[in-house]
Chain length 290, copies 4
Amino acid sequence: MIQSVAFIGLGAMGYRMAAHLPQHFDTVYVWNRNFEKAQQHATEFGTLAIELQNAVQADIIFSCLPTSQQVDEILAQVQLKSGSIWVDCTSGVPESARAQSEQLLQQGVRFLDAPVSGQTIGAENATLTFMVGGNTEAFAQALPIMQTMGKIIKHVGESGTGFAVKAVNNMMMAVHLCAAAEGFTTLKAHGVHLQEALDCINASSGKSGVTETVLPQRVFNRSFPLTFALPLLAKDTGIAVDLVREARISAPVIGLTQNLIQVANDLAEPNSDFSTAIKMYESWSKITLE
Amino acid sequence: MIQSVAFIGLGAMGYRMAAHLPQHFDTVYVWNRNFEKAQQHATEFGTLAIELQNAVQADIIFSCLPTSQQVDEILAQVQLKSGSIWVDCTSGVPESARAQSEQLLQQGVRFLDAPVSGQTIGAENATLTFMVGGNTEAFAQALPIMQTMGKIIKHVGESGTGFAVKAVNNMMMAVHLCAAAEGFTTLKAHGVHLQEALDCINASSGKSGVTETVLPQRVFNRSFPLTFALPLLAKDTGIAVDLVREARISAPVIGLTQNLIQVANDLAEPNSDFSTAIKMYESWSKITLE
Amino acid sequence: MIQSVAFIGLGAMGYRMAAHLPQHFDTVYVWNRNFEKAQQHATEFGTLAIELQNAVQADIIFSCLPTSQQVDEILAQVQLKSGSIWVDCTSGVPESARAQSEQLLQQGVRFLDAPVSGQTIGAENATLTFMVGGNTEAFAQALPIMQTMGKIIKHVGESGTGFAVKAVNNMMMAVHLCAAAEGFTTLKAHGVHLQEALDCINASSGKSGVTETVLPQRVFNRSFPLTFALPLLAKDTGIAVDLVREARISAPVIGLTQNLIQVANDLAEPNSDFSTAIKMYESWSKITLE
Amino acid sequence: MIQSVAFIGLGAMGYRMAAHLPQHFDTVYVWNRNFEKAQQHATEFGTLAIELQNAVQADIIFSCLPTSQQVDEILAQVQLKSGSIWVDCTSGVPESARAQSEQLLQQGVRFLDAPVSGQTIGAENATLTFMVGGNTEAFAQALPIMQTMGKIIKHVGESGTGFAVKAVNNMMMAVHLCAAAEGFTTLKAHGVHLQEALDCINASSGKSGVTETVLPQRVFNRSFPLTFALPLLAKDTGIAVDLVREARISAPVIGLTQNLIQVANDLAEPNSDFSTAIKMYESWSKITLE
């Protein structure tokens, strides 16, 4: 029986995710490197802001950090309670998940790699998607808590596979982004009305998440709001290429896209949204997608 | 005032498209190279199966043929009525549209390139998408007839742009297909449960028309039903690359995808559905996506 | 028996090529759009600078112009003598060669597409390579004159194949250039001494014309002398991709390289040597190859 | 003063390389996993075939093994003499070199990664190229011994850089191989005489080691002799891509080529020479390069 839940890392996603927990559980610990944010969360949502070492004594610990490295740093500092479950919602590295899983198992703790998608709006509305790798029994035990924050929650395989699915998802999005940039600059060069063309494609076989939301909401209106930073997409496409290499798969389109996102990231201004990768193509063709 | 409409080419799409016309117009001529099919259409839907030269005397003539070449062959045989409008629903070549448009204008006839998407089910339910290039006034005149067969009908620019949008749509679908093949073989190599991964991705940023319909309905169930032939996709990706070349756009992902679809087509059995391009990747990795 | 030879187009190559002819033939006509250059040639080498219409009355006419378009413009202005042979040393378009060949044949004139390689130094020393397409008999007749300017002179096939070989040669060079840029920026990022690495590679299986001459003579010394303009390389790689498309060959590396050279050309300053394509890679990696 | 030299690994390369040592040094130990080969070498060249543990007591130890893994296995078995130098001529992994270098340094032994090029003929004639990474002083001490086996011997940087240069060399060769396959199938599809085209290109800017030796000696004559196995080239291109990834370089042509060589290797028969990668292209285009 779960008595206590902790949430480590209260960034844009974690802050909103942890907000749902007090409605379902009596004891919810929160911790954040900048501790004021944890205190603010406690005030706002009735969670308990406590020291890291105490927070991780919960039955189930969630973490949501920028990269697997920060998770490693946290894990190196703490002593965990045998029997607990660590659910890492970071968009992490599959290999790290396998190492972390083995390391925690020696302390009697099970580790699930459970990255999420759905952005801050999904975190706010508890409609996130969880793609979860790791022990099946631990997944079953953690499922009710994940259900308070998400809608589609899938066990996709053994340790590391959750991170793998997330990395491949983001890689596929990156491919679709490049395809859209190339396709729409070509159309505009031929005098096509972009909005009308987009309406047609979104009702046809060529549609994607990118054509349905990224182009109309971020690119055509030239807003490029920073919600998912380009360097993080570059990191994720790198993880995807490492998965390809490790499995000795031939994936030329993925390989090329990783290189293109790398170039876009090398050339981008700091704090650029992933959608600014489009601007690399615009600088090549001198065509603006608006 | 439109008195008569004609439909030239009663293939899988045209047969169903023309079926809606008699509900809205008194005089609907149909013609097909294999004329028995035209006679069958007349019996079934109350259209008039007449000789090509007479059919094209309608106020508005629709055509739906395999490639622009067949349209050229028809146009070479007939004498048109000044003031009429020719609406070509073929997935044709933009350059041909421009040539055909100029040629027909000399006979006082306006030409619209108006390819459709939505497959046979969309043709049957009159929910097709029309992407239309050509004269704006002619578009306005032809719009009511297109509305009897489609739902989203957009004027995307001058002559040839309708075909351009269709080619780019299909090219983007081809890119998404390659991305899905590469991503999912990689995931399976890492022991990921494919159906669960697909459920996650279809609720995330990496989704596309391919992940939403092609993978579950054609690939994972190993049905690969022939509804859109791989050689036609190869043709369309070739048209898209020609558009890129003509506009001197840099489009590396599109260029690579055209080459990959070409290889898939070179290696495929005759009468293969476009979705069998996945099998090329499967033969490389010895991994089956099921 | 050849009585007279003409040379049309006295650019950096043509001026030096035509200089060898008076040693072997009594009557050598020269013509150039900027006619002063023709007069200067006459003074310097004993050729005869005459009007275009008279020059092309020679038994064998050579031309060496920027692109096939200039050749077309010249051909449109002149009336040729039946029985003469036109040898075009332009790096031209195969399709143009076939059209020009047919057009001249109607005047009883045979056309050879005979592009050259070897740069200005080869033109000066009469050590050029001629790759020649067209009628075999015409080739045999023109061979002695080509031998006064070149060393390796090969009949590579029918009309257009000379241009095809030149375009593919330049495309292969472009691929090698990209490979060198990518390989050497990677090595420098790993702290490798570039000159020593180049010495090793030039004695190993990875060597190419680019590693043997372009890197040491143009890049590592940062001279980038303008001898072959980047827009011309972009044009040639485009011709190569058109050959690939026409033959329905799958050539992913060629396709990608054409796109990269296009980007490099879009971003380059005017009057850039082809070797400045390297600078595109340098701007991406912030690594300078010196 | 060097008193003794050892050579570990008497494969096609090592056997010939070690043969030169007795002419210059009194004490030359040889060892090979299949020990009979060591004994045969001793008989043939006057070396001393002794047990591994004794052989590695030499002042300078050379190794030449299939991959870095075999070197690791050997190193795990032996105790080395402080002050000695280990020169590894394997085409190894840069990261392994750095680890091996650190590991041996703790035993007072310096490690040089010193892969060679020049094939068996170069080993036989002592005309190999050595690309060497590691400590400069150790390099200076080992140089005289390397000079008995090679001609061009370069210190290219710190530990691991020798392997890096070799991997990049082989990757560049792989790129040139793909470019040649694509270029020449395209030319043949256009009816070009291949041998004449090759003669022209080998006298022009598009030449490479591949066009100068691989095409004429292995491909056009359809011999494809097994001297460098395709799986080893696949391994080396993988090492090169890992170098690219590690340095966060954008290298699209290298990335694509690694994928293509992977496909070629996945589809090839066992014991195929690297040059059979050409056959992948031939199977796509149904064109044979002969």
